[in-house]
């Protein structure tokens, strides 16, 4: 069953055609990655899904329900979490407040507490720093916080935008371990990533984007063994 189904999505930034008819879908429990060079439109796609950016044409369906151009706060309530590029944690709120704001849509306090406990368990570093202001965390910790915050709404689908950006390789591995773990817990994941090899190693299915279009999609096994990716990145051929 398709959790997310994007069809022929077209997005303009003013006159700039950022997405030129992109189709993509995420199955229940699936781990999908979207790779491609800078400026290919990956972030735009995520932003359009959650309503941060307005789409011009096409459709975005969540469990079959049209959600294109709804307000972000309405979309998020449906069970999608978006961990934005650049982490975007609230620097002046404490770690715990950041976490709680992730659970903003939850009405049930005991459930929020349960989620909080579970996520602290998952990210013990954050538990240690729960009283600290978000802005004082290191880059890796901020990324963890951003992911943990996304998990706080107990979403069904998580959109991750470049979680490895600006992090040291060791930390990147760590973050990816978490992501795999989250997927194992049953969450569907759509991961936008530059680090193609890593992304293709952990995900089930991959889409390759180039200048506003999906140029290739396949299972990650096949994509991995395909030189096209490397070529696209390093300009060979």
């Amino acid at each position: 069953m398709k959790v997310l189904d994007v069809q022929s999505l077209v997005v303009f930034y003013g006159k700039i055609n950022a997405l030129k008819g992109v189709s993509l879908s995420v199955e229940q429990g699936q781990f999908v990655t979207l790779i491609g060079a800078n400026g290919a439109g990956k972030t735009t796609l995520l932003n359009t899904v959650t309503g941060v950016v307005e789409g011009t044409e096409g459709s975005v369906r969540y469990h079959g329900k049209e959600i294109l151009n709804r307000y972000p706060h309405d979309i998020v309530r449906l069970g999608i979490a978006h961990v934005p590029e650049g982490r975007k944690i609230f620097p002046e709120l404490t770690v715990e407040e950041n976490m709680r704001i992730g659970a903003f849509i939850m009405k049930d306090r005991t459930r929020v507490q349960a989620l909080l406990d579970r996520n602290y368990e998952l990210f013990p570093r954050l538990a240690e720093r729960r009283r600290q202001e978000g802005g004082t965390l290191s880059g890796g910790e901020q990324q963890m916080l951003a992911i943990a915050r996304g998990l706080m709404s107990d979403p069904e689908l998580i959109l991750l935008d470049e979680p490895s950006l600006g992090l040291a390789p060791l930390l990147v591995e760590k973050i990816f371990e978490f992501i795999v773990e989250i997927n194992r817990l049953g969450k569907s994941i759509l991961l936008v990533e530059q680090n193609a090899n890593l992304a293709l190693q952990v995900a089930h299915y991959g889409y390759v984007m180039e200048t506003g279009r999906v140029v290739r999609e396949d299972s990650t096994d096949r994509l991995r063994s395909d030189d096209a990716i490397k070529n696209a990145y390093l300009g060979i051929g």
Partner: protein
């Protein structure tokens, strides 16, 4: 249904009317300019009522003020909420020179401009490194300080007593009549608008607009951003000072009551209402906001309520101003409805697969 369609066509119709007008005026530009000049010359002889000439003269003062403020707000993208202070400085400089030192109007006029410009430069150097909004409030504070200094420094400015008996300017020995005042202010306004136009279309104007559009890119293109901001401020204050000098000699009595913060707000409103960044806009704004309160005189006590209401409505409905450069100071139209509308018209949340979705293969 038909009504709806008609309504929907209105913007298009307006747009084509506008385009037609633009084409017309572009084609007959020189004749129109001539017509305008003839209009200026003939006006006081056709409409001889002193009241109308006076209103037109006041309008001329505001055209100068709004056009000059437009250099700061519209071109350079800076805020100034203290323009009336420079207007006042010009007026007081000129009035004091004339009454205390017996200086001729023709010397006092440029002197007032220069003194105001000097203050502008000074304030500019001190404040223009600030971020936009802070700059606005510094100038607001400066305006208020200027007013209080005028009121407190009695030995120099006569404080609240104001300066009376400012002499009527003479033109080769002939004292000014109300028609000569009109010609002078019209001349000054034309010179100001032309000056602003020429500056706008010069290397300097391009630099100013570049700063408004993208300060970082402007800097990377070799534009000394700070210097040009100060320059813009100084130029604008010069014209404000000129307007002040004219006003002092026109009204022949000035007091701090004429240069309150509300006056700054009036000028800034003219710019915004007419169209921030548009040379014509500033003129149109000044014309409208001088005429509107006059036309509403019959309302007496309801006058300012209506004035406030119209102001709010125009700004809300057309934030870029009446003839603003389309889009510069407006945001793009959102496809989303305000949440309240959204809330009321929200469809049931049952997935509706039968609904055809455009764009799919």
């Amino acid at each position: 249904m038909e009504l709806k369609q008609t309504l929907r066509r209105i913007p298009t119709l307006l747009g084509s009317a506008r385009a037609a007008m633009a084409a017309f005026s572009a084609r007959y530009r020189m004749p129109l300019v001539l017509l305008l000049l003839v209009g200026i010359v003939v006006f006081p002889h056709v409409i001889t009522g002193p009241y109308y000439i006076r209103v037109a003269t006041i309008m001329g003062i505001y055209v100068i003020l709004a056009s000059s403020l437009n250099i700061i707000i519209g071109f350079t993208g800076l805020f100034s909420l203290g323009h009336a202070a420079f207007y006042g400085i010009g007026a007081y400089t000129s009035a004091l020179l004339a009454t205390q030192a017996g200086v001729s109007f023709w010397i006092a006029l440029p002197a007032a401009g220069l003194v105001a410009a000097a203050f502008g430069a000074l304030i500019g150097v001190a404040t223009l490194r600030l971020r936009a909004v802070f700059l606005a409030f510094t100038t607001l504070g400066f305006g208020e300080i200027t007013r209080i200094v005028i009121l407190n420094w009695r030995s120099f400015t006569r404080g609240p007593l104001g300066i009376a008996g400012i002499p009527v300017p003479q033109f080769f020995g002939t004292p000014f009549t109300r028609v000569s005042y009109w010609y002078l202010v019209a001349g000054l306004a034309v010179v100001t608008v032309l000056g602003v136009y020429r500056v706008y279309h010069s290397r300097i104007g391009r630099a100013l607009v570049a700063i408004r559009e993208d300060e970082l890119a402007a800097r990377s293109m070799g534009i000394h951003v700070f210097g040009y901001k100060v320059l813009a401020f100084t130029m604008a204050c010069f014209f404000a000072g000129i307007a002040g000098s004219f006003f002092a000699h026109f009204q022949r009595f000035i007091s701090a009551d004429s240069f309150l913060n509300t006056e700054s707000f009036t000028i800034i409103t003219m710019v915004a209402l007419g169209g921030t960044g548009s040379i014509v806009g500033a003129v149109v704004g000044a014309v409208i906001l001088t005429l509107l309160p006059e036309m509403f005189r019959f309302l007496v006590e309801f006058r300012m309520v209506l004035y406030g209401l119209i102001l709010i409505m125009v700004i809300v409905l057309k934030p870029g101003g009446i003839v603003g450069v389309k889009g510069v100071f407006e945001k793009p139209k959102s496809q989303r409805k305000p949440w309240i509308v959204e809330k009321l018209t929200r469809k049931p949340t049952i997935p509706d697969a039968t609904q055809p979705q455009g764009g799919t293969l």
